[in-house]
Amino acid sequence: MKNQSVTNNIDWITILLFIILVIMGWLNIYSASLPLEETSIFDIDQIYGKQILFICLTIPLVLVVLTVDAKIYEKYAFVFYIIGLVSLLGLFVFGKTIKGQTNWYSIGGFTLQPSEFVKTSTALLLAKYLSDVQVNLKNFNDQLKAFVIMGVPLLLILVHDTGTAMIFVALIFVLYREGLPSWYLWTGFSAILLFFMALLIEPHFVLIIAFAIISIQFLLSKRINRNPIASAVIFVLIAGFTYSVDFVYDNVLEAHQKDRINVLFGENVDLKNEGYNLNQSMIAIGSGGWFGKGFLEGTQTKGGFVPEQHTDYIFTTVGEEWGFVGAIVVIALFISLFLRIIYLAENQKTKFSRVYGYCVATFLFAHFIVNISMLIRLFPTIGVPLPFFSYGGSSLFAFSILLFIFIKMDANKVNEW
């Protein structure tokens, strides 16, 4: 069968959402980085000028991605993965440190963050591995291999950048979609819940609650399903975990990580130091009201009260200048994009492109939810960019490549059988 033209089958809805988000993102970056004196919007010395350059560079980049034969991505997935790992390892030797994180390569005045691109290569290899007909995630060996594919880049990134590393954990949803037993999710979810409960209330109370829940579950289940040993083991595990949280909190977490948890709970927060960012972020968003203060009219944005506003805190500009209505529009656009990608993924003919599409949706969603939740005190502060919105060449290029590889696969599905 003759290959049909790619452009005929491209999903324009996804591309339209992408374009709107990038433009909205730029408008907010413009507002957040506008200097007091008049300048041209193409001024390359200004942050918004640079972002225009990045957006322009994205166009040939995605065109290349769309023209390359879709098979390449599956065929060379392992090669991409290895290149990704090498680029992470290279940071230990050639890495440039920016704001305490050695995440960057410096190339001729521009910096490049390899961890952003490693998401794509990891997604490709994971998709390739899971699409193997012999792989069954019910088997422990196959689970282990999948975890290794996720885990190696995660650990390499964790050394310098906790936030991005945490994003990789979200891939567990992809594994679950492909057959990972559900207790992994439940265990993970319970562990997170227990962690925060143990910090918030006395460990003894946590244990009493856990004991009560286990007892009720035991008594309510059918006699034949009752397993006293299993219940006892679970309880002991919970107890051990709960009491070790204090230890972890005191001895493993670093001071700034503890601060972020304290800030989340609003405990003994110094609004001039560790609490400053979150407080300013909430003031900017909270003062927006229904319709916001208007484009370029945000007092907090103009005054530069929110630090890193053009990068991780870009959504505060949306909240302040565009208000509740504007924020809802932006959120709706993101949600539409995620659901569209999942919908397309579910309709892929090959398992490889389905898993990859799922990885794309998961990564984008994880960034979105972590980024916005931290601004409105729903989640501890973790520095990850808002896809397509936040300032930065690396993240824009990487998210665009991530997305457009999937668009290419999707457009190519007519050639699959």
Binding site: R177, M282, G289, T299, A327, F365
Partner: protein
């Protein structure tokens, strides 16, 4: 199940985020305030306060620049406190309490740290101010008095207190407001409206331009100049005459109700209530409970009017037609009105209205009063008719003049006596003292002056007022509305003749001014005080009321000298000097003037505190 987990999670998260945003952006409005505090600085531009002029256009009160050191506590960084304190001549202890007080008011809003630096202090501080972050200088205008007089009329300006800030949102901490006198009453005209500038700040608290291109900014509106009805030369002369005496002088222009002079003695230099020593000096003035320099005697001194009240008794008698100008009563050194009750009189023989007024005969007016009350079937009706006549002259109630201090005085009516004598049994003779201005009646000097203005006008008056002109506003209508008395015009003539007689053949004949026809009435008021808890009578107050000239009255005056003994001794001469000064601009009777200027009653006032037994009315 496996297919729907991620989409469900996405939707649930979106709902959570939207709900949280709804709470932050719509429900919780505290962020809007925090945002304004953060990013917007309000800067006020204080307009210059309006000037005051006297009726002849003489500048009385102008302005001088003053510099307040302001502080925004949250912006205060590490500064060299000892050096800072040395510069401003304060102790480090004061520094801490001032900072603390400002912080309590608001850490973000400016407070006055140190008010009213003079030019020299300002120059010294200005050089170093950039070293002290969080402090800045606010220029304001303070009063600059061109005359050392009329302090009681002008009032003063002071920093607003917390109660005012709460009540009136116009005023912010450190703002100035007029207190007392013209400053208080015409505050809104004099102060103008301050301009507001909203300035966008960045996170380092630097100004980065005006907020929203200044659409909310307002320009300061200049305070308005006011012209007072005061004749400053007359005022100064009155104050000079009152040196070493206590009392008050109120002079009105009968045709308009304008206050020509309002003297209260002892007084003070208005300039001492300006600048950093203001509160120290104010405390000193307010603590002087004997001389009471802050007590405006012209408006507040409430006493039985004594003999000048006989004018009213006569007028009411004529109006009620119980006498005519020829009615005669016989006086034999007093008036007997019941078992053993006798009102003494210095006079004897037959008196008609004319001689009754001229000689101030108690017996005559006791008879007139008795007839007035007894004309009615019940004494209650009589008293009410009498009381209504008096009230139509502005007695017995606040007059509504445009100065904040005042007393009602007292004019009793039947309700009052029914309360005192619940079982009845009171008659005209029970309350006969009222006929000669003793008993239950009391008045303030300005009420007496106004009474004389109504007599001079033969039956009408305008509410006394100190304002003559406000630059671009008309003055309150109530000051240009005629009040007509219940006594008809024709009855004034004989009374005025009697008052003229006071100068020609009566109690003030020694005070006659050649070439000016003065109508006046002397008065004496008994008064008491408590010394160590014992009610002790003091020397009588000397009272005099007058107007002149007789045919075209230009000035009505009431003078009252505490413990000055009889009317013609102090009050009479001072009143005649004031009249001559106002009508002629110069004084012919220099001996009398010298005696009055140099005369002192301080030895009389010292008796009260001497602790020694003393004699009075000698």
């Amino acid at each position: 199940m496996r297919k729907i987990l991620l989409p469900s999670l996405i939707i649930v998260s979106a709902i959570l985020i939207v709900a949280r945003l709804f709470y932050l952006q719509i429900i919780d409005d505290s962020f809007i305030k925090k945002s304004d505090n953060n990013a917007i600085k309000i800067k006020y531009d204080y307009p210059e306060r309006g000037y005051m002029f006297d009726r002849n256009g003489v500048l009385l009160v102008a302005n001088q620049p003053s510099y307040d050191v302001m502080v925004i506590p949250k912006d205060v960084k590490e500064i060299d406190v000892p050096e800072f304190c040395k510069l401003l001549k304060i102790t480090e202890e004061e520094y801490r309490t001032k900072i603390e007080k400002a912080t309590v008011y608001s850490p973000r809003l400016p407070s006055v740290f140190l008010p009213q630096l003079n030019k020299k202090e300002y120059a010294g501080f200005q050089e170093k101010i950039r070293k002290y972050q969080g402090f800045y200088i606010q220029k304001r205008s303070l009063r600059d008095y061109q005359v050392n007089a009329a302090a009681n009329v002008f009032g003063y300006i002071a920093q607003v207190n917390d109660a005012i800030i709460k009540k009136n949102p116009y005023y912010k901490s450190g703002d100035l407001i007029g207190k007392q006198g013209v400053e208080e009453v015409y505050e809104e005209f004099l102060r103008g409206t301050k301009g507001v500038k909203y300035i966008q700040k960045d996170r380092f608290n630097r100004d980065i331009g005006s907020y929203k291109e200044g659409i909310y900014d307002t320009i300061a509106i200049q305070g308005e100049d006011v012209t007072l009805s005061l004749d400053i030369e007359l005022q100064k002369y009155g104050e000079a005459l009152m040196i070493n005496k206590r009392g008050g002088i109120v002079a009105l222009e009968p045709k308009t109700g304008e206050i020509l002079a309002l003297v209260s003695a002892p007084s003070y230099d208005p300039a001492i209530l300006v600048g950093r020593d203001r509160s120290k000096n104010y405390t000193k003035l307010s603590k002087d409970t004997l001389a009471m320099p802050l007590f405006d005697r012209g408006l507040l001194a409430e006493y039985p009017p004594g003999s000048p009240f006989k004018i009213m008794t006569g007028l009411i008698g004529l109006q009620e037609e119980v006498i005519d100008e020829n009615t005669t009563f016989h006086c034999s050194h007093g008036f007997s009105y019941g078992r053993g009750a006798f009102m003494k009189c210095h006079d004897s023989g037959d008196n008609n209205l004319h001689t009754g007024i001229a000689h101030s005969c108690n017996t005559y007016f006791a008879n007139v009063f008795k007839r007035t009350i007894d004309k009615y079937p019940k004494p209650g009706y009589g008293v009410d008719a009498w009381s209504n006549h008096l009230k139509s002259f502005g007695l017995g109630n606040f007059m509504g003049y445009d100065l904040p201090a005042g007393r009602k005085g007292h004019i009793p009516d039947s309700r009052y006596y029914t309360r005192w004598y619940p079982n009845g049994g009171w008659r005209s003779t029970t309350i006969i003292s009222n006929s000669i201005g003793q008993g239950e009646v009391s008045t303030t000097p300005i009420q007496l002056a106004n009474m004389m203005a109504a007599v001079a006008n033969e039956g009408y008056y305008y509410t006394p007022h100190i304002i003559k002109k406000i630059k671009s506003h008309t003055i309150d209508k109530k000051y240009t509305t005629k009040h007509v008395t219940t006594v008809d015009k024709q009855y004034f003539k004989p009374v005025i003749e009697g008052l003229f007689g006071v100068y020609n053949e009566g109690t003030a004949r020694s005070l006659k001014v050649e070439g000016i026809d003065i109508c006046g009435k002397t008065g004496t008021a008994e008064n008491f005080t408590k010394i160590n808890g014992v009610r002790t009578q003091l020397q009588d107050h000397s009272i005099f009321v007058a107007f002149a000239p007789k045919d075209n009255p230009k000035i009505a005056i009431a003078v009252f000298i505490e413990n000055g003994y009889w009317g013609a001794r102090w009050a009479g001469p001072i009143a005649s000097l004031m009249i001559e000064k106002y009508l002629r601009g110069k004084i012919t009777r220099t001996d009398l003037e010298k005696r009055m200027l140099e005369g002192s009653l301080q030895s009389e006032y010292a008796k009260v505190t001497s602790g020694q037994p003393f004699k009075i009315n000698q």
